[in-house]
């Protein structure tokens, strides 16, 4: 019985909010129209015919400003309604549907490592999961698990490479005095190159799947960030943030997913020269190093521009939204003094709850990126170590061609590590800016 009464009260409250939103819209639009007419009239009275164009411009500006304020207020009132509508028995808030889309985009292996609360639509549980993700113990457990898993999975690769190098060295030393030793040496190097490069290329599939997962997760996060920004009254922030994140995603998708592996393959092909230890060995190695350096520098520069764009857009749009909200609140409190005061209190509560949601969702997003990145970085670092170690072994058993190739590939893994970390860092910064962004408060 009591619940029914509460529900009826809630319905009345929603109706009141809707009516209030409509009233504010009408009043502020009328205020905007009144201002523009007033300005135009003043100009006509002063016989300033040349200012007709300026009046039109001003009118447009005022109308746009009024529309923005109307939208902001309408958003707040609608959010208030949604927040109440989504309220559970304990008063907990529910995340928007876009959060479900984001959690569905997370790959299974990452989802298994996330705390269970991260998949709940309940904001409080997501907040708890976010605090767990942010803890040092959790991150170290992820690192140790990833290290253990990668180490055990890469042991056969290490055994293959070591065996390959030892057999090649055996063959080289056995046939060293033979008349056809140079041909045998060529064939053995060719074969060991096939084994080593096949091992290196097979590890690229992991990197490709990492980029795919990362971009899918970020693509699913874009609408969620827009909704949460709009819920906090950051209309400009929602528009600019979504656009900037989408642009960043598109640029990263092009540069990372479509060019990293071809550049790796070009460098690998140049490393082939080092296997046959001719006069071009050093030239090939230097050319590969130059390609890597140019590519890394270009990518780093682009990522820096994107990061700066994300941060500045966030700051500027936040200021614009705050100014718009201040104006809207001023207009509301001036025309409807009593309800305007009530609205101010409601808005404060709403903004803080939406900020909480943003923080939790942003940290979960960062956690998801870290959970994708950490295993890849560890795997690449271990592969780099394995190739360096095998190169050292090849050097000590006088397999110089294999040593050159293994060293070149180990250097390439360092470059891949850098690109993987760089692509993730941009999105981590974007998510951190989103999580730290405040709602539009006057």
């Amino acid at each position: 019985m009591n619940m029914k009464t509460e529900r009826e009260n809630g319905t009345e409250y929603k109706l009141f909010l809707r009516l209030f939103a409509v009233a504010v819209l009408i009043i502020v639009a009328a205020f905007g129209q009144f201002c523009s007419q007033k300005c135009a009239g003043k100009c006509r009275n002063l016989n300033i015919t040349t200012t007709t164009a300026n009046i039109s411009v001003n009118r447009c500006k005022i109308t746009t400003m009024c529309q923005k304020r109307c939208i902001t207020v309408a958003c707040y009132t609608t959010n208030a309604e949604n927040t109440e509508e989504n309220g559970g028995e304990d008063g907990a808030e529910t995340l928007p549907d876009e959060y479900g889309g984001f959690t569905q985009s997370i790959p299974e292996d990452v989802a298994d490592r996330l705390p269970d609360g991260a998949f709940s639509p309940n904001a409080a549980e997501v907040g708890q999961a976010a605090s767990e993700i942010g803890s040092v113990a959790y991150l170290f457990s992820v690192i140790s698990d990833s290290f253990g898993a990668s180490f055990s999975s890469l042991l056969p690769t290490f055994a293959t490479l070591v065996s390959c190098v030892l057999l090649a060295a055996l063959c080289h030393s056995f046939t060293s005095g033979f008349a056809i030793s140079s041909t045998v040496s060529f064939a053995v190097k060719l074969c060991s190159f096939c084994v080593i490069s096949a091992t290196a290329v097979s590890s690229l599939a992991r990197l490709e799947s990492y980029f795919d997962s990362l971009f899918n997760a970020v693509a699913a996060f874009v609408p969620l960030s827009g909704v949460l920004m709009a819920m906090g009254g950051n209309i400009s922030g929602a528009a600019s943030g979504t656009a900037t994140l989408s642009a960043t995603l598109a640029v990263c998708e092009f540069f990372c997913a479509k060019t990293v592996i071809p550049v790796f393959c070009i460098c690998l092909s140049l490393s082939l020269v080092t296997v046959f230890d001719g006069h071009g060995a050093n030239a090939g190695r230097n050319l590969a190093a130059t390609v890597k350096k140019w590519y890394s520098t270009a990518l780093g520069f682009i990522m820096m521009i994107l990061t700066v764009s994300i941060v500045t857009q966030s700051v500027i749009s936040s200021k614009i939204d705050n100014a718009a909200m201040r104006g809207a609140k001023y207009a509301a409190s001036s025309f409807i003094p009593v309800v305007g005061g009530t609205l101010s209190g409601t808005l404060g509560t709403l903004v803080s709850s939406v900020e909480l949601l943003r923080g939790a969702v942003g940290i979960v997003g960062i956690g998801v990126i870290l959970l994708m990145l950490i295993p890849v970085i560890i795997e690449l670092a271990l592969l780099r170590g394995i190739f360096s170690l095998t190169a050292f072994l090849a050097g000590s058993v006088s397999a110089s061609g294999e040593q050159g190739l293994l060293t070149s590939i180990s250097e390439l893994y360092g470059y891949l590590e850098g690109i993987a970390a760089l692509s993730a860092a941009v999105f981590i910064i974007a998510f951190a800016v989103f999580a730290a962004s405040s709602g539009a408060v006057a």
Partner: protein, 130 residues
């Protein structure tokens, strides 16, 4: 393993002394003995390689199919190289260095033929990636 090696050394030394002694009586016998001793020593060397071949086969099982292929290729190349070396040495002992040269060319061609799949694989990798 060690016994075979010492047997080979013994056969080689005894054969060398006999050949030196027989050279005083006539070169034909010494040449025949040289060939027989060389072939016996080579056969003993090849026979003594069986533990090495077994070891390579064992290693090939560690890394899966790829290393198995690699070790099989290495065994074939080693086999060709040893055969070419023995045959070319025998030909030189018989006073036929030109034949030895042809055998060596044949051996090189055989090694190149064996490595053709790997050349095409490298080309395939390059085309597939770029």
């Amino acid at each position: 393993m060690g016994e075979t090696f010492f047997k080979i050394c013994g056969i080689a030394l005894v054969s060398a002394m006999l050949i030196t002694a027989l050279k005083k009586f006539g070169t034909e016998m010494s040449t025949v003995l040289k060939l027989v001793a060389g072939l016996v020593a080579a056969a003993a060397c090849v026979a003594s390689m069986s533990p090495v071949i077994e070891f390579i086969r064992e290693i090939s099982g560690i890394g899966g199919g790829r290393l198995g292929e690699y070790s099989l290729f290495l065994l074939k190349v080693l086999g060709v190289a040893i055969t070419v070396h023995i045959c070319a040495t025998v030909c030189r002992d018989c006073g036929e260095p030109s034949l030895a040269g042809y055998i060596e060319i044949g051996g090189k061609v055989e090694v190149i033929i064996l490595s053709l799949p790997y050349i095409s694989e490298i080309i395939g990798i390059s085309v597939g990636l770029l």
